[in-house]
């Protein structure tokens, strides 16, 4: 696109054609308060009317979030008329908002509060009746509080575009409008994946994760040995919560913080990831060698499992029976680790720090009720750290505890990004099939953030075709093939959230309004920046294949026997059910 000349508040600028006024203004150094718009057209309903500006020649005020710039356009952001209009829109929204801001979970991340500050909203304007509200706290992963919803529609778009399932929609009309699953049901009674993508985009406290900090507090209070593990993707984003640029590695400081928080042991879920690879690669080889059901599909992502059980129960036989890494690690902590240290497993309380809200649901599944006792998101961990008076910036870098389950490999680290599980599995499968390591450790073909990737790998003269995808909307076509028995692949990795766990529903919010120092295109690039953290940590590891993890080898030798053993089956594997039964009303 070419350039156009515009004027903002009298100053001349040249900007790319095709931008909205809002985007152009940002590039020119202006910040127009805005609320409903999100990421260049991902959500562009022009409905909140907060970003109003004057454009010479246009009829009335225009919504800068949708209005494209044009040659010669003269825009006024700072006129009294525009300033007052923006303030009035915000004040009206506030008049229909449950304003318990001090106690609200979104305190500090609320775009409405930020915008209210920016426009100078006045106290007590336009007070009146509020839209009848619903508070849904039934689902393990998510909370929906319509008293804080501003009807921007971002969540609706995200659910539709990322997962293709449109759980959320507008309901009713006018002042009674709410955003809800069909019939204003709970998420718990909807075929919702609890992936939390909706939470990531919600500007206010209308959608939040279901916090389990209280449970952790209670466990400490009860004198339990509280053991924490952190998923790979957490380290790629936790630093953002403390004001560091997106793409900052947070591993060392995070571990240091966890030590200061008093956890009995601080483990890395990467160990669980390595263990998953051992079991999953073994399962794959079994299927290949014994003409089992192929393709095999990964099972690490609980959001994907929720999708599977409701939308594609026919595909269940294809899905690896492996528990997800943190559940495996939880099971090992409560058996192997407990036994070695002669601790009664009942006294152990395992907390998983995850980039994910679906893991909150996963840990409560009937198939594995005791492996993990609480799941906190990356955001909840930040809250724990903040309330404890720890100054993140001044923390030293510390190492995970090296105690039976301490070692981890580069293969485990990359689980946090789409393609990572596949790459890790290929490293080990290749070794097992050929007896030697693949010369080039990196399998570039399965890297990158595209929705669907595929690759072919030559193993001993046999071409093994694999596919990787993230976002359930992208998975649909692959799954249709599998269902029809026409899938050309041997192994498929599926992650629920677009881009994988680095973009999980429990990760720090990426809200340009709060990230004035990030690049303008941060919503396009943050996933790549986080992914880079993981890939560079992979490279830094001396051991980069799961099967070469010494602690893993010891675990098998001392306890599990070999991959796929009876004990491994009992502790590390699970089963799935068709979920249609669970929602007879859906």
């Amino acid at each position: 696109m070419g350039l156009v000349n515009i004027k903002i508040d009298g100053q001349a600028y040249q900007v790319e054609a095709g931008l909205t006024i809002l985007e152009a203004a940002r590039k020119c150094g202006f910040v127009i308060p805005s609320l409903c718009a999100f990421n260049h057209g991902e959500c562009s309903r022009a409905s909140c009317r907060v970003c109003l500006v004057e454009v010479k020649g246009a009829r009335g005020l225009v919504a800068s979030c949708v209005y494209p710039v044009a040659e010669g356009m003269e825009i006024t952001i700072s006129s009294q008329k525009a300033v007052e209009a923006r303030r009035a829109s915000v004040e009206l929204i506030l008049s229909n908002h449950h304003k318990n801001c001090l106690q609200c979970d979104k305190n500090g991340h609320c775009e409405l509060l930020k915008v209210a500050e920016m426009v100078g909203a006045r106290d007590g304007m336009y007070e009146g009746e509020q839209t009848p509200a619903t508070l849904d706290e039934l689902a393990p992963g998510l909370i929906r509080d319509t008293s804080k919803c501003i009807l921007c529609g971002r969540c609706i778009e995200r659910c539709k575009q990322a997962q293709g399932i449109s759980i959320l929609g507008f309901e009713n009309r006018g002042f009674k409008t709410i955003v809800s699953p069909v019939q204003n049901r709970s998420f718990a009674n909807s075929p919702c994946l609890q992936c939390g993508q909706c939470v990531n985009v919600c500007p206010t406290g209308a959608l939040m994760e279901h916090s389990e900090i209280d449970k952790v507090d209670a466990a400490f209070k009860a004198g339990k040995k509280v053991i924490v593990q952190t998923a790979p993707a957490v380290r790629a984003a936790i630093a953002e919560e403390f004001g560091e640029p997106i793409g900052t590695t947070g591993t060392g400081k995070m571990v240091a913080a966890l030590h200061r928080l008093g956890f009995y042991r601080v483990f890395d879920t990467n160990f669980g990831a390595d263990l998953t690879i051992m079991e999953e690669a073994h399962e794959l080889l079994e299927r290949i060698q014994h003409k089992g059901v192929l393709p095999q599909i990964t099972s690490c992502s609980p959001g994907w499992i929720n999708y599977l059980e409701y939308y594609y129960p026919e595909v269940i036989p294809h899905v690896s029976t492996c528990k997800s890494p943190h559940m495996m690690l939880g099971a090992i902590i409560k058996t192997y680790f407990a036994k070695k240290h002669e601790i009664d497993p009942k006294d152990i309380f395992v907390v998983s720090i995850m980039p994910c809200v679906a893991k909150k649901y996963e840990r409560q599944r009937a198939e594995m009720p005791n492996d993990v006792d609480a799941v906190l998101t990356t955001r909840e961990l930040a809250k724990l750290i903040k309330r404890s008076g720890i100054n993140w910036q001044r923390l030293p870098d510390e190492e995970f505890d090296q105690d039976l389950l301490g070692e981890y490999t580069g293969a485990g680290v990359i689980f946090g990004v789409t393609g990572g599980v596949m790459e890790a599995a290929l490293r080990t499968a290749y070794f097992w099939l050929t007896g030697k390591e693949h010369e080039k450790i990196d399998f570039e073909a399965v890297r990158g953030l595209e929705g669907v990737k595929e690759a072919a790998l030559d193993i001993n003269g046999t071409t093994v075709r694999v596919a990787v995808c993230s976002g359930m909307k992208n998975a649909k076509a692959l799954l249709e093939e599998v269902k029809a028995g026409k899938s050309p692949y041997a192994f498929i990795e599926i992650m629920c959230c677009p881009g994988g766990c680095i973009n999980g529903g429990g990760q720090p919010f990426v809200k340009p309004l709060f990230l004035q120092n990030e690049d303008d295109d941060i919503l396009e690039t943050y996933r790549a920046k986080r992914a880079k953290v993981l890939y560079s940590e992979d490279v830094k590891q001396s051991v980069r294949q799961s099967h070469n993890n010494k602690d893993i080898q010891k675990l098998y030798k001392d306890f599990l026997g070999k991959p796929g053993s009876e004990l491994a089956e009992e502790l590390l594997h699970t089963s799935y059910v068709s979920d249609r039964e669970r929602f007879p009303n859906k």
């Binding site: 562009s44 309903r45 022009a46 409905s47 909140c48 009317r49 109003l52 009335g60 005020l61 919504a63 949708v66 209005y67 494209p68 008329k81 209009a85 009035a88 829109s89 009206l92 929204i93 008049s95 229909n96 336009y126 009146g128 009746e129 501003i150 009807l151 507008f170 009713n172 009309r173 006018g174 002042f175 009674k176 409008t177």
Partner: protein, 634 residues
């Protein structure tokens, strides 16, 4: 069925059918013709049964060779319906009941005598008027452009429409270039009849200029303004005329498909339109190679489902696309990216009904009617506190006084005119001082209202203007789609303030807040519905500020409408003590006193009654039942 495949076919058929129509109306073969009004208003007063009875009688009496009877579209003078008109004399009978059929047949058709008692009585002169054009209501009207054919031809018979000249305009257009057609419409000065008055030709030009493999024309028949029924009557009376207008538009911009979006509340209009489309298709007037040219066109019907906001064109498009009727931000404009992302022109029913006239008679003929910037005629649905309620088509430039007092026959019961609301919930009220303003788009806006789609509700001294504003706000609040916050929340807040004021709890600060809120909604809302929603508040506040103040400061409703601020009282001197009021009171709020009514013997059981204000629910039944005029509102 007759097939019309070429221009020549059309001309020939027209000539033949015109002579048939002529014979029918001019009685050349000694035959007479009865037509019965088939508009929604008359049908609800049993005009269908009336027609059936007339037809039955004709058969019974063996009059088939002497007289025909059929239905026609709306006569417009709805308060006098149902109508029966006899040709060739053009005798117009009003308020005809089924039971009157016998007399019409016996006395008029057989006896050749006019049934005097069924003639219209002029409210001023009290004289009976036999012919339609002699009735004041019709005198100033010009019902031959948008309402062409209404009350003349059978709307369910395409042959009568062709006899009257249908498709001649299309035929002419198809022999012009697309640009020539657009230029003709541009030159005619036709402006959108849906409300905002955007020049129709310019809309067409935009869409014509956009390159696209597919374009659409859409007819907006989602007439949601409460108190307006222009579009309904136009479609009910002459659906072919609207279809022809749409086809001309389709040809002009290069569209092959047209969509009618009609309110589901209008079943008769929908059926007649559906029937008309079917007849056109059977004749070959819709489909491929129309009139032997390369022009192909199809019409489709989509029903609204009860959402006022779908009258807003982008909301309408969303509705056709099977979505919630929430307006889209603009740009992109529908002419660039409309229905299913294709260039689309949305025109209102009445606008399209004007198009055939323009093509047939030329832009100049059309532009000779009306004012400098508002050409042609406008159809109004005149209602409320006016003697002659109904549908009128008048040339632009007529004054409100002519509309209300000459055509409308003034205010009933000797009450005083207070205001007229034009433009429905998006418009405003005009008062005494505006009565001599010539009606056109720009004058109405200058006067603080707007043309709107044509609703014109007259209010008299018994109407409370704060209550009227509250009525419209309730409507808008119900009908706000909920998408944008100023309209969704702001209209609710306005309504809350108006409720407070009409309940006598308002303060002058509330009045200020109401005004500022109204201006916020106006400037900040996403679509036309929101941007015009506060107009009824602003215009009543402007013209009747004192009335607002009376509610707030004096805690009085001057028109005695707002229940919290009025009470019913029995005037002792007038009360005859009959007790009828007490017997009808649903709240047992009326009690007997010991006072003997004036001029009555104390021995009689009659005693003056009194209303206990604490029990009264203000339903008004006592007043309605009092035969002595002893109960007043205070």
């Amino acid at each position: 069925m007759l097939k019309i495949k070429t221009s020549e076919d059309l001309i020939k058929s027209h000539e033949h059918l015109a002579s048939c129509l002529d014979k029918k109306f001019h009685c050349e073969e000694g035959k007479r013709a009865i037509v019965v009004c088939g508009g929604t208003g008359c049908l609800s007063s049993d005009s269908a049964d009336l027609l059936a009875r007339l037809q039955e009688l004709i058969k019974e009496k063996g009059l088939q060779d002497k007289v025909t009877a059929n239905i026609v579209g709306c006569f417009g003078f709805c308060s006098q319906g149902p109508f029966v008109k006899i040709f060739p004399e053009e005798t117009l009978y009003t308020k005809v009941k089924v039971a009157d059929a016998d007399e019409i047949i016996e006395k008029d058709i057989i006896g050749g005598e006019i049934v005097e008692r069924l003639l219209f009585v002029d409210p001023q002169s009290k004289a009976r008027v036999a012919k339609q054009h002699e009735i004041n209501f019709y005198k100033l009207q010009k019902r031959d452009i948008a309402l062409k054919g209404n009350a003349e031809i059978n709307p369910e018979d395409i042959e009568e429409a062709i006899g009257q000249g249908a498709f001649l305009a299309l035929n002419k257009a198809l022999h012009m270039s697309q640009q020539e057609v657009i230029t003709e419409v541009l030159n005619s000065g036709l402006r959108g009849r849906g409300g905002a008055g955007f020049p129709t030709g310019r809309k067409w030009q935009f869409a014509y200029d956009v390159q696209s493999d597919e374009k659409y024309v859409v007819c907006n028949g989602d007439e949601g303004d409460p108190g307006a029924f222009m579009d309904r009557s136009i479609i009910e009376g002459n659906p072919i005329n609207v279809i022809e207008g749409m086809m001309i538009e389709g040809y002009a911009i290069g569209a092959k498909n047209g969509y009618f979006y009609i309110r589901a509340e209008y079943p008769i209009a929908v059926n007649r339109l559906r029937n008309a489309i079917k007849q056109c298709e059977e004749m070959g007037l819709l489909g491929e190679h129309i009139l032997g040219t390369d022009f192909s066109f199809r019409c489709h019907i989509r029903l609204g489902a009860g959402a006022f906001v779908c009258g807003e064109e982008t909301a309408l498009l969303n509705s056709i696309e099977g979505q919630r009727g929430m307006p889209r931000p603009r740009p992109p404009f529908p002419a660039v990216k409309g229905l299913w992302g294709k260039p689309s022109v949305i025109n209102n029913v009445e606008t399209l009904a004007n198009v055939p006239f323009i093509l047939l008679h030329g832009a100049e003929a059309y532009a000779s009617i009306g004012t400098e910037k508002s050409k042609g005629t406008k159809v109004f649905a005149l209602g409320g506190k006016v003697n002659n309620v109904g549908l009128v088509e008048v040339p632009m430039g007529i004054t409100l006084r002519q509309l209300i007092f000459d055509i409308g026959g003034g205010i009933p019961n000797g009450k005083k005119f207070k205001a007229i609301q034009t433009g429905g919930p998006s418009g405003g009220c005009l008062t005494e001082k505006d009565l001599d303003t010539p009606i056109d788009y720009d004058n109405l806006i200058a006067a603080g209202s707007m043309m709107g789609s044509g609703g014109a509700i007259v209010m008299d001294e018994d109407n409370c203007m704060v209550d009227v504003a509250k009525f419209y706000m309730t409507f808008i609040c119900d009908e706000s789609c909920g998408k944008c916050s100023p309209c969704r929340i702001g209209t609710k807040r306005c309504l809350e303030l108006l409720n407070k004021i009409t309940e006598g709890k308002g303060t002058m600060e509330d009045l200020e807040e109401l005004k500022s809120l109204a201006n916020v909604i106006k400037s900040n809302s996403l679509c036309g519905l929101g941007q015009t929603a506060p107009n009824p508040i602003l215009s009543t506040m402007n013209a009747f500020y004192d009335e607002y103040v009376a509610h707030i400061v004096d805690k009085k409703c001057p028109a005695h409408v707002c229940k919290s601020l009025m009470q019913y009282k029995i005037i002792e001197d007038k009360c005859a003590g009959c007790g009828l009021c007490a017997r009808n009171c649903p709240a047992n709020a009326i009690e007997k006193t010991d006072i003997v009514p004036a001029g009555r013997a104390p021995t009689l059981p009659l005693r003056v009654h009194r209303i206990d204000a604490s029990k009264c629910v203000k339903c008004g039944l006592c007043q309605a039942n009092c035969r002595f005029g002893a109960i007043i509102k205070d």
